[in-house]
Amino acid sequence: MGPQYVLRRLATAMFTIVMIVLLNFVLFRAMPGSPERILLGRMPGVTAQVLEQTRARWGLDDPLFPDQFVSYISSTLSGDLGFSYSARGRPVTEVLAQHLWPTLILFGLGEVIAIAAGLALGSYSGWKRGSVVDYVGNGVSLVLYSTPYFLLGMGLLLVFATALGWFPTFGMNTAGATYDSVLDRLADFASHLALPLATVALGLIGQYAILMRSSIIDTLGEDYVTTARAMGLRDTRILSDHALPNAMLPTVTLVAINLGYVVAGAITVEVVFNWPGLGTLTVEALAARDYPVLQGVFLLLSVCVVFANLGADLLYGRLDPRVRT
């Protein structure tokens, strides 16, 4: 992996981020119709005077390029994403920061569990192709893959929270609860986290298992595996030392590529459980047509996904010495 490879990946990531920022600008300002209509929404009794004030306040009378464009870019770069309409005019950056960590916890943990379980299930069923585990595992993976995350969440909620009463139905903490110790607080948090986390993990396991299964089957057909067999190595040794490391390579990229799709799942899972993260924020902002917040979410999530992809590319270059360009 030479410096050229790293530079190329960096350039691609930067290019994508520039495109995202551009898209954000265009979406909001260059749409047919006028931005102040979107700003004011369908508010009744908008007089010409109010319209004029709004236009002046948001600098909409300045030429689109370069004035508005430059001020947009400079404020975005300095972390100023405007003000939320619905959250009493709080800065969007502040609103985003507040909702970021619940999503990070839910998603980070969910991904880790799903990757570990999915890869284990996938490699086992690929290794024992045609076995009962393979057959059942593949079927379950396919069904999970066809199920929208939120539907899975609603099902789990119905069974484990409403019918069995094992877990609370919504939120991140019991409302108004006082805790005797930090441990109690953590236990409460964990019981709230359990169902959304299970939903995210289950939703992801399917695709990782399917991917790992076909990847390991591909790898097992390679010459070096045949060689290892001919050398008389034990099955477990072939799997752990020769097949697995190579089969894991494509999953690194695919985990990163899938992140964009996974985000959609995150949004809906949070809504089902009223988890106060970016997903719930998105849906609330959507209902209130709070465009600055929506744009902020889009920018934040896109940049995260781009960096995750960049990280995966660099990691891949590290893991697979064949990658040079």
Partner: protein
């Protein structure tokens, strides 16, 4: 000026001594047959909802008890307005399937057009198109779809106008799905076009004076038709999922409920918390079955169209 015979065209009725038609090959495989049967069932539901369960019930015409479990007369229970869930789910089948179909057509059209032209023309056009395609593949398109739907709706307004029996507000969703999901199709079609372009029959057509547009239409397009069909099947599944998800976050149309809209209503009522499983389980099963059927059909088509893959797996 006859175009050279190319041994593809599986979709068309085959003359004697050729491989059996695509449909027959599909039916002979268990996954293909299962997929086709499930889809046939839902197609019937989607085509004759009025015959099967009567016109769509509204808050005014609803007669049942409120939020009642399945009982005589209401085999799938009722919603909070007293509408029969069976009635809602069957009518929603039509809405979901038609939106899925239209969105697939739009997506595949954009993807095939851009894929063929950028692969065939190459050069700067190709570079720019593929950069944009990569961009759409990487970014979280769902969030973009939410914003686009909201903005387009606010700008166009939501009237009661209908296109193909689908309200304008839902046509917005069709357009947005098309804009955000064409890139995968374009990439696949482009790479196939790149390899086709090198083949002798394209050179021959060019030598005898066919223009670029004619070559793309008469020589490249028929040869990527199979790929387009296989891709459309997967796109359909994705379109149904995307429509469902968009409706679920509140972008559906309560006057023309789709499966996703029913699930959104169920969430708003708090059906999972109330134990009202009949509110969301039927619509949920429909979604999973249809997407599953398309996935089965997709893998069957893949195996038929790429025999090499079949040998390997």
């Amino acid at each position: 000026m006859t175009s050279p015979v190319v041994p593809v065209n599986l979709g068309v009725v085959a003359p004697a001594r050729r491989k059996p038609g695509l449909l027959r090959q599909l039916v002979s495989r268990p996954d293909g047959l299962a997929g086709l049967l499930i889809l046939a069932f839902f197609t019937v539901l989607a085509m004759f909802p009025n015959l099967l369960v009567g016109p769509l019930e509204t808050a005014i015409t609803a007669t049942g008890p409120r939020l009642a479990p399945p009982q005589a007369g209401y085999p799938l229970g009722t919603d909070e307005l007293g509408r029969s869930m069976l009635n809602l789910v069957v009518h929603a089948t039509r809405v979901s399937m038609v939106i899925g179909l239209l969105a697939t057509l739009v997506t595949v059209f954009i993807g095939a057009l851009l894929g063929i032209t950028s692969g065939y023309v190459g050069g700067r056009l190709d570079a720019v198109t593929m950069r944009i395609a990569d961009f759409f593949l990487v970014i979280p398109t769902f969030v973009l779809a939410i914003i686009l739907t909201a903005i387009i709706r606010d700008v166009l307004g939501t009237g009661s106008k209908e296109i193909f029996g689908i309200r304008l507000s839902l046509i917005t969703i069709v357009i947005v799905i098309g804009i955000t999901s064409w890139s995968a199709t374009a990439r696949i079609i482009r790479s196939q076009t790149l390899s086709l372009k090198q083949r002798a029959f394209v050179d021959r057509a060019r030598v005898i004076g066919s223009g670029d547009w004619r070559i793309m239409r008469k020589h490249i397009l028929p040869n990527v038709t199979n790929l387009i069909v296989a891709n459309a099947v997967l796109t359909f599944a994705g379109a149904i999922l995307l429509e469902t998800t968009l409706s679920f976050v509140g972008l559906g149309d309560p006057f023309q409920p789709s499966w996703g809209q029913i699930l959104d209503a169920a969430r708003n009522v708090g059906a999972p918390g109330l134990g009202a499983w009949w509110y969301f389980v039927p619509a949920g099963i429909c979604i999973v079955l249809v997407v599953f059927a398309f996935t089965l059909l997709g893998s069957a088509l893949d195996a038929i169209l790429n025999p090499k893959l079949q040998a390997r797996r």
